[in-house]
């Protein structure tokens, strides 16, 4: 029973884990901004951005975000049991 109380200050380890989760949550915000950035480019035919630049930019950003996400998911730990699947109803404890 947790009761209405929450733990206000966490151990160093737990604290770090929470911050990794924060990082994961913030990542899509940055992703959105980065993916919307080409809208502000100069798209004038002939003088503006060439499509090859867009390809390199978008896929580069995409890959960078995936790498960051991989890094974060490597760092995040789930305590066992809070994610384990119980195959049948009878097994839940």
């Amino acid at each position: 029973m947790n009761g209405p109380r929450r733990i206000e200050y966490l151990e160093r380890d737990t604290y770090r884990q929470r911050r990794y989760r924060d990082a994961a949550r913030a990542l899509p915000v940055f992703a959105t901004i980065l993916f919307f950035l080409p809208l502000f480019w100069d798209w004038e035919a002939g003088t503006g951005i060439r499509p090859s630049v867009l390809i390199v930019y978008l896929f580069g950003m995409w890959l960078a975000l995936i790498s960051l996400s991989a890094l974060i998911s490597y760092l995040i730990r789930f305590s066992d049991g809070d994610s384990r699947d119980s195959p049948t109803e009878g097994d839940d404890r």
């Binding site: 035919a45 890959l63 974060i72 789930f78 699947d85």
Partner: protein, 894 residues
């Protein structure tokens, strides 16, 4: 030349391979309970049914027509997956604890196990998904047509329709076999998931193969390819901001709400941790899927004659350049994309249709006792199978009736926009407890209606469903209701226009009605369960006011989940209650658990209704909710009490610890006192003994003798005084003193004390103010005199000033009277101020000391017993003591 027969053989071989994979996976799953199959890679690959034939073939066509806009379809899900998978994690957790079987079940279960909402979402999903299934059938027949068009294929083009039929039938067989093996959706379709994962690899491999061929085989490298892209028509592309933003939102939302995505992401998920891997692996998959799309499109536009269908470039490029092996691989890739999507979407839809439409109808048609009579299990399986067949048939019919072609190609985004109507209810349902059934239902209906009016109906083409007049001028001439320009806003692309208005009004209705209306107790209960799923994953409780017999429940459970499992469950429950056998007491826990178990097979709403039939009343009353709240409150109260008790114990322990420390200190003090006293007694005794010895030996001059006798007498007196003091102190400390209370004036007491102190004249100057000393006191005057004598003689003894002075000051403070003794010697330092009242404490100069250092200790004891006090008064320029007394004035007045 690829003969048609070869193509058929390859396709059949591939299908046979898929069947094998699925069978193997099922067998394996049975043997080791699917542990081997439950890994993050399989999970990630199964998510790839997001990439259907529409993306396999269509992305290239999309790129050829609208440049880089096709990327939005992949960027949306990427944004969700790289960081916001915790939304999915919550869905997965809810799905597990509530045994959710589909999107419709999620919404229905969240909003009070509402049957109506279940039906609503099911209809929405079927309407939104059927065209998509048709699209998959179309893509396969189109790809077959490409091969047929090749000279020498030996195939008659008229057979396309029958090809579509055979594909649909084949898919139906596969889905029937592997999709309905388990009635309990939560038991997972290992065969299907494995087949989907394999197909994911095939389509990725096929697309990458074509891409590599195009970039390195034809263009000659990455640099050359980029140059070609810059030189191509695509270079004139520029992003349309509202489409770019709108489509990213749409694809992200659809990723969460598409029935097939929900199926693989939530229902088939076996471990939440897999989501963490998928968070980067799935975006990587779609990145690779989209990497070669533009190169293929640009190459196709260059290579192939004007007017060729860009949707099929993935096939036609290898065929035109004579790479038949690559063409077949590419065909298999498209085939994989189409089939895996159809299979999973069909299972997802069939579950919904069966649980939310067929089962409730059947249940109400058989009325009371439905769960007890008839083969429920058989009925459910049959309805699931019928639903699968029906949905595939619907897809085929849609394909035939719409006639294929461009109209169908646009259906991808239209379908997305349809299923996205579930999003507000879904997100609000898992994050906002206040969202209720009326709000969610109305929101979905309004969103669905706007979507149908502004996008779905017009998609059949002008004049098909909506007349051209309506399209141009609005219904009944109401221009602000024109399907492509609601409220006269014309600048938006139709898809974005529809998404914007439908989701906007959907959300507004949801929020407004949720705020204004009141949910029923079941909704509130489920709302709390969903939103706070991580706090209590135990599962909701249910209610039973009516008396259901355990035997009836067992009979019903057996009919739905099978004899073995039902009996095992009841036996476990009985054992938990301490009952031997198969029939436990019918408790709310039992009913709740039974309901959840059944929900895995027939959906929450139906399970609730079935159990409700037996338990009599299925409704939750507000009283029930309050009872639960009370129970919770009691637990909280109990825990608070425990906490308080533990705090109290801590306090007691601390008090005990302090007492112990005090005792230890006192014991040390006592030891110090004993050694001190022995020392004090010993010194005079020693001199008495030695002088008496000298006297005994005689032969001493009379003068010396009298001196020695004097010393002996003096020492003996000192001893006596010491012993008197000790005795006195002991009496005082034990409170055994008899007080001789009398009235008198303070002045006379002071006079007596000054005289008794025996001050040698001129040695100590006394400053007194006789007017202020005229205070009547009522106390033991003798004892008080003793205190004053002590203080005066102390001043005389210890004052180190050249001209010692003692000021005796009397202060009248209400019913208290203070007498200060201030001399002009050196003030005591802080440590000494504390120690001075302790026994045997003498300051620095021992030589002057006449007594044993008990004087002030005795004074304090006396003052204590007289009800006054003696304290050291700091900050007076010299040693100062304050004696506080009770005055007699009040007493006299009484």
């Amino acid at each position: 030349m690829i003969s048609f027969n070869l193509l058929i053989v390859v396709s059949l071989a591939y299908v046979a391979f898929l069947f094998l994979v699925a069978f193997a996976a099922e067998r394996r799953a049975k043997r080791d309970r699917g542990r081997w199959l439950r890994n993050p890679l399989v999970y990630t690959l199964s998510l790839s049914i997001y990439c259907t034939a529409w993306t396999f073939y269509g992305a290239v066509g999309y790129a050829a027509r609208s440049g880089f806009e096709y990327l939005t379809i992949y960027l949306g899900p990427t944004i969700i997956m790289i960081g916001w998978w915790w939304i999915l994690r919550k869905l997965v957790r809810i799905g597990k604890t509530q045994r959710i079987t589909s999107v419709a079940d999620l919404i229905s279960s969240r909003f009070g196990k509402s049957t109506v909402l279940g039906v609503l979402v099911t209809v929405l999903a079927v309407v939104g998904t059927t065209p998509y299934i048709a699209l998959q059938l179309q893509s396969v027949t189109q790809s077959l047509a490409v091969f047929a068009a090749e000279p020498g294929s030996g195939w008659d083009g008229r057979d396309f329709d029958s090809a579509a039929v055979w594909i649909a039938v084949g898919l139906a067989v596969f889905t029937l076999i592997f999709g309905t093996r388990n009635l309990d959706v939560n038991e997972r379709h290992h065969g299907v998931v494995m087949a989907v994962a394999v197909e994911a690899v095939v389509k990725l491999f096929a697309l990458v193969a074509v891409g590599v061929f195009v970039v390195w085989g034809m263009a000659g490298g990455v640099g050359e390819m980029l140059d070609r892209i810059d030189a191509a028509v695509i270079a004139e592309w520029h992003p349309v901001p509202h489409r770019w933003v709108g489509l990213i939102f749409l694809s992200a939302a659809a990723f969460l709400t598409l029935p097939r995505m929900f199926q693989v992401m939530v229902v088939e998920n076996s471990d939440e941790k897999h989501l963490v891997t998928a968070s980067w692996a799935f975006p990587l998959y779609v990145l690779i899927m989209s990497l070669f799309v533009v190169p293929i499109a640009v190459t196709g536009l260059d290579l192939l004659p004007e007017g060729s269908n860009p949707d099929l470039f993935v096939l036609t490029i290898p065929l035109t350049t004579g790479n038949e092996g690559l063409a077949i691989l590419s065909f298999l890739g498209g085939f994989s994309s189409a089939t895996s999507m159809v299979i999973v979407a069909t299972i997802a839809l069939a579950t919904m249709v069966s649980n939310h439409i067929i089962a409730p109808i059947w249940l109400s048609s058989t009325q009371q006792g439905a769960a007890l009579s008839g083969d429920v299990r058989g009925v459910i399986v049959l309805s699931r199978r019928l639903s699968i067949a029906m949905i595939l048939m619907l897809g085929y019919l849609y394909f035939r009736l719409s006639g294929g072609g461009a109209a169908l190609a646009a259906i991808g985004l239209i379908s997305f926009a349809g299923v996205v109507q579930v999003l507000p209810a879904m997100i609000a349902g898992i994050f906002w407890r206040g969202a209720n059934r009326i709000g969610a239902g109305t929101g979905i209906v309004i969103g669905f209606a706007i979507w149908a009016w502004t996008l779905f109906l017009p998609s059949f083409g002008p004049g098909a469903v909506l007349s051209e007049a309506v399209m141009a001028e609005g219904p009944f001439g109401l221009a602000w209701l024109r399907p492509y320009a609601l409220f006269g806003i014309t600048g938006l692309d139709p898809v974005i226009h529809a998404v914007f208005w439908s989701v906007f009004f959907n959300t507004v209705a949801l929020v407004m009605l949720s705020v204004l209306t009141f949910p029923n107790p079941m909704e509130r209960l489920q709302g709390a369960q969903f939103v706070n799923v991580f706090e209590h994953s135990a599962g909701a409780r249910t209610w039973s006011q009516g008396a259901a017999r355990a035997e009836d429940l067992l009979i019903m459970a057996q009919r739905i989940i099978g004899h073995g499992e039902a009996q095992e469950m009841f036996r476990q429950e009985a054992r938990a209650q301490g009952i031997h056998g198969y029939l436990p007491e019918v408790t709310p826990e039992l009913i709740g658990r039974l309901e959840r178990t059944l929900a895995g097979s027939v959906g929450a709403a139906t399970a609730h209704a079935m159990v409700g039939q037996l338990t009599g009343s299925a409704a939750v009353s507000v009283e029930d909710l309050i009872a639960v709240a009370d129970e919770t409150a009691q637990i909280v109260e109990y825990s608070n009490q425990l906490e308080a008790k533990s705090a109290e114990q801590e306090r007691t322990a601390r008090a005990l610890r302090e007492a112990n420390e005090k005792l230890t200190a006192i014991s040390i003090q006592k030891d110090a006192f004993l050694s001190q006293i022995s020392h004090e007694l010993r010194t005079p005794m020693t001199s008495i003994r030695s002088f008496s010895e000298i006297l005994r030996e005689g032969e001493i001059e009379p003068e010396a003798r009298s001196r020695f006798a004097g010393i002996i007498h003096e020492e003996a007196t000192r001893l006596t005084r010491l012993l008197d003091d000790l005795l006195d102190l002991s009496y005082l400390e034990n409170g055994q003193v008899q007080l001789d209370v009398a009235r008198g004036s303070l002045a006379s007491v002071l006079d007596r004390a000054v005289m008794a102190a025996g001050l040698s004249a001129g040695r100590l100057v006394l400053n007194r103010d006789s007017t202020r000393e005229a205070v009547q006191i009522e106390t033991d005057l003798q004892r008080l005199t003793q205190v004053f004598i002590n203080l005066i003689s102390n001043a005389a003894k210890y004052c180190d000033a050249a001209q010692p002075e003692l000021t005796i000051r009397v202060l009248d403070d209400g019913d208290l009277c203070q007498v200060d003794f201030i001399d002009n010697g050196t003030p005591l330092d802080a440590d000494a101020q504390v120690l001075i009242f302790e026994k045997f404490s003498r300051l620095a100069d021992e030589s002057k000391a006449g007594g044993a250092g008990l004087g002030l200790a005795i004074c304090r004891q006396i003052m204590d017993s007289l009800g006054g006090e003696i304290t050291y008064l700091p900050g007076q320029g010299g040693p100062a003591f304050r004696v506080t007394l009770r005055r007699a004035a009040q007493l006299a007045a009484q």
